[in-house]
């Protein structure tokens, strides 16, 4: 087992003929991901790297039984693409696109809540269950199959943590990048619940950052019902107020949103918070064995 993606994942790539879409489709195929369909309205009927290209998600699902979509479209097209996927019966949608307008996401989230599909992102590096499937753009060679679940709002910061783990011989069950935007699909708490139910995951690392209160929400869940051990790291200790730190979501607009008060809150709820990014790997090792 693992969560969200595995050997049964059948992917349709929305925006397969774009530069990013093509590049990463090739890399996902190389990793062993089952990419069964591509989407490109203007190139409907074409065949790319052995993958049939369709004009609508509905058609792709009917012809190929795709159950997961991976979105590489430019920001203005994302709202339509996500809703199309939901409406076509796709179960899991991974949105890589960065820069999706927040008003579009408010509409998308209302739709998601009604239909019960799973959205990861936008502005996500994707999801990888090492050795099984990768839906996204992450550097896959640093991952090893194992028992630690990793969930994060950031791409390269996740690489840092994963490479520390792998170097210490600690593999990962699934690594989920939930995305760096203020409004995203799955939140930390949703992913923690999935990890909690996953027999392959024994330990969880949560990598949070300033802005919003997703980390706090997760901490409340951990205290009340989480069965498995967890540790966390929160980035942005040195961030000033009202300045966006790269991610649209990483901005301290309320008093509770800075790293210091987040860390205090997590600690109060009994979560082990690693105080330095350099020590995440060794801390997991200590807590795991």
């Amino acid at each position: 087992m693992s969560i969200l993606v595995d050997e049964n994942t059948r992917v349709v790539v929305q925006g397969i003929t774009g530069r990013e879409g093509m590049f990463h489709t090739e890399r996902m195929l190389k990793y062993g991901t089952k990419i069964v369909a591509g989407l490109s309205p203007k190139k409907k009927g074409a065949n790319l790297m052995g993958i049939p290209v369709f004009g609508t998600v509905c058609e792709a699902v009917k012809e190929t039984n795709a159950n997961t979509s991976c979105i590489f479209l430019s920001p203005p097209h994302v709202k339509d693409a996500i809703i199309e996927s939901i409406d076509s019966g796709i179960e899991t949608i991974v949105c890589i696109t960065e820069g999706v307008p927040i008003h579009d996401m408010m509409v998308v989230k209302r739709f998601l809540k009604e239909k019960g599909a799973i959205l990861i992102g936008p502005n996500s590096p994707g999801v990888i269950s090492p050795g099984k499937s990768k839906v996204g753009v992450m550097a896959d060679h640093i991952h090893r199959r194992g028992n630690v679940g990793v969930v994060s709002r950031s791409g390269t910061l996740t690489y840092e943590v994963v490479s520390q783990l792998t170097e210490l011989g600690i593999g990962q069950s699934t690594c989920v990048g939930i995305g760096g935007d203020p409004i995203v699909g799955l939140k930390f708490v949703d992913v923690l619940k999935l990890f909690d139910e996953d027999p392959e995951t024994e330990f969880i690392v949560m990598i949070g950052e300033i802005g919003g209160d997703m980390e706090e929400e997760a901490a409340i869940y951990c205290r009340s019902s989480m069965k498995k051990p967890i540790c966390a790291y929160i980035a942005g200790m040195g961030a000033p107020k009202e300045k966006k730190m790269g991610h649209a979501g990483a901005i301290i607009s309320g008093e509770k949103e800075d790293a210091g008060s987040k860390i205090r809150f997590l600690k109060e709820k009994g979560i082990h918070v690693v105080d330095s990014i350099a020590k995440v790997g060794e801390t997991v090792k200590k807590l795991l064995y």
């Binding site: 408010m106 950031s154 520390q164 730190m245 330095s276």
Partner: protein, 371 residues
Amino acid sequence: MRIHEYQAKEILKKQGIPVPEGLVIEKEEEAYNFLERFGFPIVVKAQVHCGGRGKAGLVKIVRSYGEVESAIHLLLGKISHKLLLEECENVKKELYLALIIDRKVESPRIIVGKEGGIEVEDVAKEKPYSIFSQIVDVRYGLLPYQIRRLFYFLDLDPELLGDFSLICERLYRIFINMECTLCEINPLAINDNGKFSALDAKMVFDDNALLRHRDILELYDPVQDDHREIEAKKYGLNYVKLSGDIGCIANGAGLAMATMDLVKEAGREPANFLDVGGGATKDMVKEGIRIVHSDPDVKAIFINIFGGILRCDTFALGFKESVHYLHKPIVMRLSGTNSEEGLSIIKELSAPLILVRNLKEAFEKLRELKY
């Protein structure tokens, strides 16, 4: 993106929300025409993006030509390139009205307060009973019953319901059509003639939506940002100036934040946040290095790259093209995709470089750094 008060008021006025009569001036002479029309007193307001202008002395009520002159001399130029002159209204009551995006419920929230001119966050903490709000479902929009709930909470003369409803509906229309993340009228005044008036207004637009709102983009005032931040934006780099002296360069926002944090842990202060992007090109790397190195506050630089989509050899090539002018000490960590290739390029160069293999080593070197 933020805009100035006078720009926000122009938008309100266009949509039919009442604002005080006013004039924007760039030169002192332009003021006198307005004074002839309105007499005294008038309000002189600096047009800068910061909260608490009143307390900072950037808003002056003037009662004579002498006072106007000294207010203009004080505010126009160095502090503010434009001033807003406004008639002084006879205010009976001040309220608060705003639309925000509530991240937690992932929807717009409309907020009213019984007092105006407030910092809504402080009031939410100290006097939560004086504010009230409604969550809006974006599919149906702001509904009349929600406006009535807000109105009755404010305990106003029932005669005002019609005008209040129009203001709420129009503000919501601005918020949705222009894709704002904040629309605030603070204070919303009721004058002694029983009419509403938006005495101050603040609007923030979603940067990600600006491509489909060219008209809003034209309202951007670059004077309000650090010139390095503007340059960085041009090249697609995320840069924020900070107060310390260690320049930081990393790829990816999360890693860039963690890099700053590591500098702090080592007892140093970051001079900036710089994310060259998860998928940076050679030219973006070059620009990033140039922007950080050219900051006179920067005494040393910490480069922390974890290659993913950005390959380390791409980074190294960008670095190589910058090396001829580098004279500040640099601590560099280069890991991930194609790190071997990247490091072999870097090792050929003669630069004031300290190469480290991981963040633990980087931490030690940052502590030892002398400059």
